[in-house]
């Protein structure tokens, strides 16, 4: 179901918590599984439930509560752009307009070739470096402008 490397990563997370609290590792386990699979399919949730000794519904509760988990397939490059107040004041609207025009999709959509998904994000906690775009949940791109968006997107191809 998951590679040995992913399972080793999950085991490292489990070891952080008391032996009887394996469930504490569920958030990291979901992250690790999503990084490997691209998204969280029902069978992945079932597998993790068995692996961590918790009900599948409890895994689903967590996966559906936190907004960085994807319960549906997304593009190869998931771009999440923060549009909250500080980024808005620092010019994110023009950046979003440029990205949308370039990719031909709006928030919540994926390009027909399956390469890009665009999402609207809430505060990343890095406002001083805004406008911000999170690439595949883990790489933060900072200080975006309508001028540097082209180079930023080219870098993903």
């Amino acid at each position: 179901m998951l590679t040995n490397e992913s399972l080793a990563q999950i085991d490292r997370e489990i070891a952080k918590y008391p032996a009887e609290q394996k469930q504490s590792a569920v958030m990291s386990a979901l992250r690790i599984a999503q990084q490997e699979k691209g998204w969280l399919a029902p069978e992945t949730l079932e597998f993790l439930a068995t692996y961590l000794g918790m009900p599948t519904i409890a895994v689903y509760e967590v996966a559906s509560f936190y907004n960085m988990y994807d319960l549906k397939p997304v593009g190869a490059h998931k771009l999440t752009v923060c549009t909250n107040i500080s980024c808005q004041l620092q010019g994110v609207d023009a950046v979003v307009a440029k990205i949308q025009a370039k990719l031909g999709i709006g928030f919540g959509e994926t390009t027909a070739d399956g390469r890009f998904t665009l999402k609207e994000g809430e505060c990343f906690g890095a406002c001083g470096d805004g406008p911000l775009c999170l690439h595949n949940n883990h790489t933060l791109h900072t200080r975006l402008t309508p001028d540097n968006v082209d180079a930023f997107l080219e870098g993903m191809k």
Binding site: K16, Y17, P18, Q21, Q23, S24, A25, V26, M27, S28, L30, R31, L52, M54, A58, E61, V62, F65, Y66, N67, M68, Y69, T80, T83, N84, I85, S86, Q88, L89, Q90, G121, E122, C123, F124, G125, A126, C127, G128, D129, G130, L134, N137, H138, T139, L140
Partner: protein, 428 residues
């Protein structure tokens, strides 16, 4: 700058050096000296808590609760596990100081958590790191490995016989987990819905065990306090507002970023440090402590000093020191619409007034912004807000109301103009 001298760069001094996050940088300038002294002299917990109380260090995550007092709530003779938890789940719009502590001074946080763990008799500690800053989750774990290899973590720390370890827990996108009991639920592997209090975490916390939760900047200030004494920290700031504080300036300033200054520094000086209002435009409004606190007119802010008591007296809060600056081009209806959407999106759904009320407020503001507002909408917004306030388990409901009520209080004319003319008065 270093930890050896009592200067005002309490948490940001490592940024003077080439490798600010390295263990070698930290130890070369006084890092871990406070921990060593405590472990060697076996400083009693009471003495440490007394220093922290004297320092007037107040919770840097937003609530401003006295840290020493919070520590004193932990049971002393509890026969079982206890925990120290650091709250680095920094996701309130305008707030970005803890990320820089994790990036540039991870060991001071580790030392602070060690001292807290020792004082409170904890068996282990967890640092809950905001979902969108995965790079800092990784880098803080690397700092933990470095500290472990050097004997600062694990069994028999520095030969003292004391065992303690620290771990990072990674969030994955939920603002509400910044609320301390939601954060505990999240560490337990559940959805992050706040718990009803009491019982408070000091008696029933992580896994039902006594737990103290402090903000990143709070814990990172501890080594400085133990090195130079509570009085020296207090003297950096003002009575009842001890120390320095990192202020995060964002929005319409020339140089958005973090600035660590003494508590009680005039806002006008802080604004100047960030290069002033962008493009030399006029200052219209400031949200002084993160998106949850009431907005204040620019002219009011220019008369204030940056400390808990001064900002509270003016009708807002210092919060996490997250200063959002708005110039005269900002449409306050549009700004509020975005904030209202945030609270609607992030409400955990547990309490009806918040779950329903945040969406209701957003929809009303949205229609005003889009030229479909009705004359009765402003009273409606006030009423929905009043019916959320104080009627929810956690503070997210009140946090959603703060912006709405304060925007209407100070900028009501812009909302009225929008409703009447179906467009914005800014630039009209």
């Amino acid at each position: 700058m270093s930890l050896n001298a009592p200067n005002h760069k309490v948490c940001t001094w490592t940024q003077d050096y080439d490798h600010p996050a390295a263990l070698a940088t930290y130890t070369a300038h006084g890092g871990y000296a406070a921990l060593k002294k405590i472990l060697t002299e076996k400083t009693p917990a009471d003495a440490i808590i007394a220093e922290v109380k004297l320092s007037a260090l107040r919770g840097r995550g937003g609530a401003g609760f006295p840290t020493g007092l919070k520590w004193s709530f932990m049971p002393r003779n509890y026969d079982g596990d206890k925990y120290i938890v650091c709250n680095s789940d920094e996701g309130e719009p305008g707030t970005f100081k803890d990320r820089d502590i994790l990036r540039f001074n991870p060991h001071q946080l580790i030392e602070g958590m060690l001292i807290a763990g020792y004082t409170l008799g904890a068996r282990a500690g967890y640092n809950y790191i905001h979902g969108e800053i995965f790079e800092q989750y990784r880098s803080w774990e690397a700092a933990l490995d470095e500290a472990r290899a050097a004997g600062f973590l694990g069994n028999n720390i520095l030969g003292s016989g004391w065992n303690f370890d620290l771990h990072a827990h990674h969030g994955y996108g939920a603002y509400v987990c910044g609320e301390e009991t939601a954060l505990l639920e999240s560490i337990e592997g559940k959805k992050g819905q706040p718990r009803f209090k009491p019982p408070f975490p000091a008696s029933y916390g992580l896994y039902g065990k006594p737990t103290t939760i402090n903000n990143t900047e709070t814990l990172a200030s501890i080594p400085w306090i133990m090195r130079h004494g509570g009085q020296a920290f207090l003297d950096l700031g003002k009575p009842n507002n001890g120390g320095s504080k990192i202020f995060s300036l964002s929005g319409h300033v020339e140089r958005p970023g973090n600035y660590e200054v003494r508590m009680g520094t005039p806002f006008s000086e802080l604004l100047e440090m960030a290069g002033g209002v962008k493009g030399g435009r006029e200052l219209k409004a400031v949200i002084p402590g993160g998106s949850s606190v009431p907005v204040l007119p620019g002219a009011t802010m220019m008369e204030l000093t940056m400390d808990y008591d001064s900002i509270a007296k003016a009708g807002s809060y210092l919060g996490a020191g997250s200063v959002i600056v708005m110039d005269d081009t900002v449409c306050m209806v549009k700004a509020l619409e975005r904030l209202a959407y945030f609270y609607f999106e992030e409400s955990c759904g547990q309490c009806t007034p918040c779950r329903e009320g945040t969406g209701w407020m957003y929809r009303v503001i949205h229609r005003i912004e889009h030229g479909q507002g009705r004359p009765e909408d402003l009273d409606l917004l006030m009423s929905v807000g009043t019916n959320i306030s104080g009627r929810t388990i956690c503070a997210l409901g009140d946090a959603a109301v703060g912006p709405v009520h304060s925007f209407l209080k100070h900028f009501r004319n812009e909302f009225e103009y929008h409703i009447e003319h179906k467009r914005c008065m800014v630039g009209a």
